[in-house]
Structure formats: structure tokens, C-alpha cells
Amino acid sequence: MVAVQVIVGGLLLGAIYALFSSGLTLIWGMMNFINFAHGEFVMLGMYVALLVVVYIGGGPAIFGIAAAVALAVLGIAIYFSLIRHVIRGPMLAQILSTFGLALLLRYTAFWIFSANFVSLPANALSGTVSLAGVYLPVAQLVAGIVAIVLTIGLHLLLTRTAVGSKLLAVAEDRTAAMLMGIRPDRMQALAWGLSAGAAGIAGALMAIAYPWSPSVGETFVLIAFVVVALGGFGSVLGSLYAGLITGLIQAVSAFWLGAIYKDIVVYGLFVALLWLRPQGLMGKA
């Protein structure tokens, strides 16, 4: 029974990994670009949730949407002020831009919120439920399920809608898309909005169920790397599976090896992947 609990818990956390990683993979697929600040987007989503609860009030739906919108706006602003200027520049500028941004956001958060761990005050989702003998916090269950639904939603948005096909057209061939009357700049800004928005709402969901501090972003971005590599660079559906697998591996290794080994196992997996299948486990070459 404990084993089942560990596995379900891992999958629910993995669902949130899947959601924010799908944002990172979207940017990679669109622009061949790695956002080192993506973990900080998740972290900011958590604090937006906290601020909304404390200063405005409202349930998970309110602060979840608030986090998504706030981060989407931030993502678009960052695209226009920074990313579009470095994307055609040297590799150094590309890496430095989001790497510097990550530091800036992380340490500004330390400055404002201090290094202490915080968590959301008790809310409608506090408490536990028992499903067939497995005890689960309601918050984890809801957060995990919502995350899966949203990740699938993002996948459907990309594959089944007009906006999605425009996004993919830009990813496929920028020039051809321009000839078709699509404005790549707008589409890339939209991708940044979606990506950061996904990170923001994933942060809000994470905040419902887990405590955090400003340093979580660094862990999250590395987890997102693992998920993106495992799921195939650029594939949202791949990152859904990979996120669940990563959460599961973490939970299982934390349970059997000890909590400190969970990240070692996951990062080790990333290095192994680079050696064995650099294009990603489920990715196309």
C-alpha cells in the first residue's frame, strides 16, 4: 500500500513537472532556444499565488489564473525586450540572456521574500482523501489532475487549432510562414506567453501542495531539462509522458534510496540520456 502511495504521489508531482516542462519544450521546438530562467518562472508563479491569496483572497481558480496571466505577460515582455534581440546573435548572447535573467529573478526573489520556506495558508483543498485505501492530500490530487488536463490542453492547442498550426508553421520554416502571411515575431511572442504562462500556473498548482523558497527555480529548470530531453526536444506530448516518468523516478528513488538521492538519480538520468540518445528518448532525430 505504501508503494502505491509513493507511486501515485510521484505521478501527481510528475504531472506538474510535465506542465512546466511543456512550456520549455515549446520554446525549444519553436526557436531552438533554451530558457535557463524557466524554473524561475515557476518560482514566480508560486509567489504570485501567495500574494494573491494573502492580499486579494480567493480560491485556487483565482490565484491559478492570476499566476498564469502574470507570467504570460512577463514572458511576452521578456520576449520583446530581450529574446528577440539575442535570438539571431552569437551563442554567447543567447545563453547569457536567460541565464542572467534567471540569476536576476532568483536573487531578486531572495531579496524580497527572504530565503525562508513558505506555503499557502490552509484553503478549500486542505485535508486528505482516501481512494481505495491510498491516502492522498486533496491538494496534490487536484494539482496533479489539473496539470495533466492543462498539458493535454496545450498539446491540443498546438495540434488542433489555427493558432497552433501557425505556431508550428513558424517553428517549421520561418521564411515560409512569413510568405503565408504569418508574422513570426507575434507567434514567437505568443509562444513565450504560453510557455511562461504554463510555468506560472504550474507554479500555482505546485504551491497548493508543496512548500517552497526562492531557490526552487534552479531545481525546476534542471528537472525541466531532464523532462524535455526524455520527452524529445520540442514535443509537448512527449514531455507529458516524460514528466510523469520523472516524477515517478524521483518518488521511487527518494523512497528506496533516501530523499537526498532523488535529484542525483534524475540528473544522472539526464547525463545518461545525452550519451545514449541525445535527440531525446521519444524524439525524432
Partner: protein, 325 residues
């Protein structure tokens, strides 16, 4: 500075200034800044070989630094050997690490390399923090009192200053040597366009791997010097991400891919860092990194070539003379 100075004279003047610094500024405070400056310049110059010249941006160079820092103190802890004996061991492990990371990622675009470096550095940091053999979270200590000069444990800052200066000289001389030879041309070609470089017969992957191995070896030496100077090492000061950040920002601010770029970057940042830490007390280190983040973003956005390139651009006459020589 007058533009009529020939380059070698500028180098002689620079060397003289660096040699004279601790004799002019004799206070422990200034000498400590000098030593910190030299260490930052050494590690950023080492980073510069692969990150600047070859254009492969490592964001996890702390792994090489940490390996270099741990090796001497580990040999001292285990066998009582002088820390200096650990320097070759650090170099060997750093090169092995470089190969492990470079072999798979150098077949792919530069983003993969950057991702792999930060992930491996973090992996090692966490692992070392759990490994009792290397002191786990507490880390390792060096000799408390020197048994001889080979312990590299001095009361005064002065010996450290001149040892570090000599190592900096070696790193810069090696870089300058490379710059003018085939390897240096190949590095710049690989950075500019891998496809074009390959069409001219450059083995791109091997070139990048050699650059990373050399860079890793020098970075490891920087780590060993740091450990010798401070006398102890723990996972964060050896492998922490901020160690990588400092190399990156020092090189990028001064001018990545330029011989004296890291030197300039260190000359600006180290006093700045000391100032913020002094003015804002313990909380100042957080502010330092907000500042670092901001500077890195600004460099990326406006001046990826760093301050040296900016200088060369706004002083074209000066620049042309330097190139013609």
C-alpha cells in the same frame, strides 16, 4: 591611454603594474582584493578558452573548479600529502569530466552543451554533499600550519599574490600562444560557423573537445589555488552554481574570446563585489548576484562582445593599429 604605445609595451606596463600592486598597496584589505582579483582572472581566462574562443558556453565550469579544489585537500586528508600533490590529480579528473561531457554534446548545437554543463555541475555538487569520503556537506580542510612551502599555506597574502600572478601569466601566455597558431584559428572558425569550418577540413568535434579539456585543466588549477589559499572547501564553494556564474560574467563583461577580456572583467567586478559586500553587510551577497544577473542580461542584450570589443569599436584607429601589429 595614448594610442602610440606598441602592444608589447602595454603588456610590459600591465605586468609591471600587477607586480607592483601589493608593494604599493600594502594593507591586508587591498592585498586580499588583489588575490581575489587574480583568482577570478585565472578562472575566467580558463573559461574563456572554451566559452570565449570556441564559443561553447559552459554554465557549469564549477565542476572543474571544484574538482581542482577538492583533489589537494582530499590527498592531504587521506595521506597527509602536501596539497600541491593534488594539483595533477585535479587536472586529470577535470579532463576526464571534460571528455564525458564533451563527447556526446559536441555533436549537437551549443545549447545541449550548456544544458549538460549545468546539469552535471549540479549533479556533482549534490553528490559530493552526500559523500562521506569527501566530507559530505562539511567538506575538507587543508593543513592548519605549514610544514613547508610545498603546503602552500602562508600567513601573508603576498606569496599567494605572486603564485597566483605566475599562474595567471602561464594561462594568458598559453592562450596567446594558441591564439596565433592553427588551433587558435580553428577555434575562431568553429565559433563563427561550424559548417564552414568543416568544409575547410577542421575536425570540429575534436577541436571543441581539446578546447574544453585545456580549459578544464586550467580551471582545475584555479580551484586548487583557491583551496590552498582558503584552507578548506565545501560543496557550495567548490561546485556551486555561483562559482560558474563568476567565471562567466568576468569573462563576458571584459570580452569573451579576447586575451585580456577576463582580466578587465575581473578588474571591474572584484572591487565592485567587495564594495557591495562591504556596504550592505551580510545581505550584500544577495545584492551582488542581483547586480550580476542584471549585468549579464545587459551584456547579452547590448554588447555580447564585452567592454573590450566596445572599446575597439569606439576607437577604430587604435584598433587598426593593434590588428596590424
Amino acid at each position: 591611454m595614448k594610442s602610440s604605445f606598441p602592444p608589447y609595451l602595454r603588456i610590459v606596463l600591465l605586468a609591471a603594474a600587477l607586480l607592483a600592486f601589493p608593494l604599493v598597496f600594502t594593507g591586508a584589505f587591498y592585498r586580499d582584493i588583489g588575490v581575489t582579483f587574480l583568482l577570478a582572472a585565472i578562472s575566467a581566462s580558463a573559461w574563456n578558452i572554451v566559452g570565449g574562443y570556441a564559443g561553447q558556453v559552459s554554465v557549469g565550469h564549477s565542476m572543474f573548479f571544484g574538482v581542482g579544489a577538492y583533489a589537494p585537500l582530499l590527498l592531504y586528508t587521506l595521506f597527509g600529502w602536501p596539497p600541491i600533490a593534488g594539483i595533477p590529480l585535479g587536472i586529470a579528473i577535470a579532463i576526464a569530466l571534460a571528455i564525458v561531457i564533451g563527447m556526446p554534446t559536441f555533436r549537437l548545437t551549443g545549447h545541449y552543451f550548456s544544458m549538460a554543463t549545468i546539469a552535471v555541475a549540479e549533479l556533482i555538487r549534490i553528490f559530493v554533499g552526500t559523500w562521506d569520503f569527501v566530507g559530505a556537506a562539511i567538506g575538507l580542510q587543508g593543513p592548519a600550519r605549514a610544514r613547508g612551502w610545498w603546503d602552500l599555506t602562508f600567513r601573508s597574502e603576498l606569496p599567494y599574490y605572486y603564485i597566483f600572478l605566475a599562474v595567471l601569466g602561464i594561462v594568458l601566455a598559453t592562450t596567446a600562444f594558441i591564439e596565433r597558431r592553427r588551433f587558435g584559428f580553428y577555434l575562431r572558425a568553429v565559433k563563427a560557423s561550424e559548417r564552414a569550418a568543416r568544409s575547410l577540413g577542421v575536425s570540429v568535434r575534436r577541436t571543441k573537445l581539446q578546447a574544453l579539456a585545456l580549459s578544464a585543466a586550467f580551471t582545475s588549477v584555479a580551484g586548487s589555488l583557491y583551496a590552498a589559499k582558503t584552507g578548506f572547501i565545501d560543496p557550495d564553494s567548490g561546485f556551486g552554481i555561483l562559482v560558474s556564474v563568476q567565471m562567466l560574467i568576468v569573462a563576458a563583461l571584459g570580452g569573451a574570446g579576447m586575451l585580456f577580456g577576463p582580466l578587465l572583467g575581473a578588474a571591474i567586478l572584484i572591487p565592485l563585489q567587495t564594495a557591495t559586500n562591504t556596504w550592505f553587510g551580510g545581505g550584500g551577497s544577495g545584492l551582488t548576484y542581483i547586480l550580476y544577473g542584471g549585468i549579464i542580461v545587459l551584456i547579452a542584450r547590448f554588447e555580447p562582445g564585452g567592454l573590450l570589443e566596445l572599446w575597439h569599436r569606439i576607437r577604430p584607429r587604435w584598433s587598426r593599429r593593434a590588428h596590424a601589429a
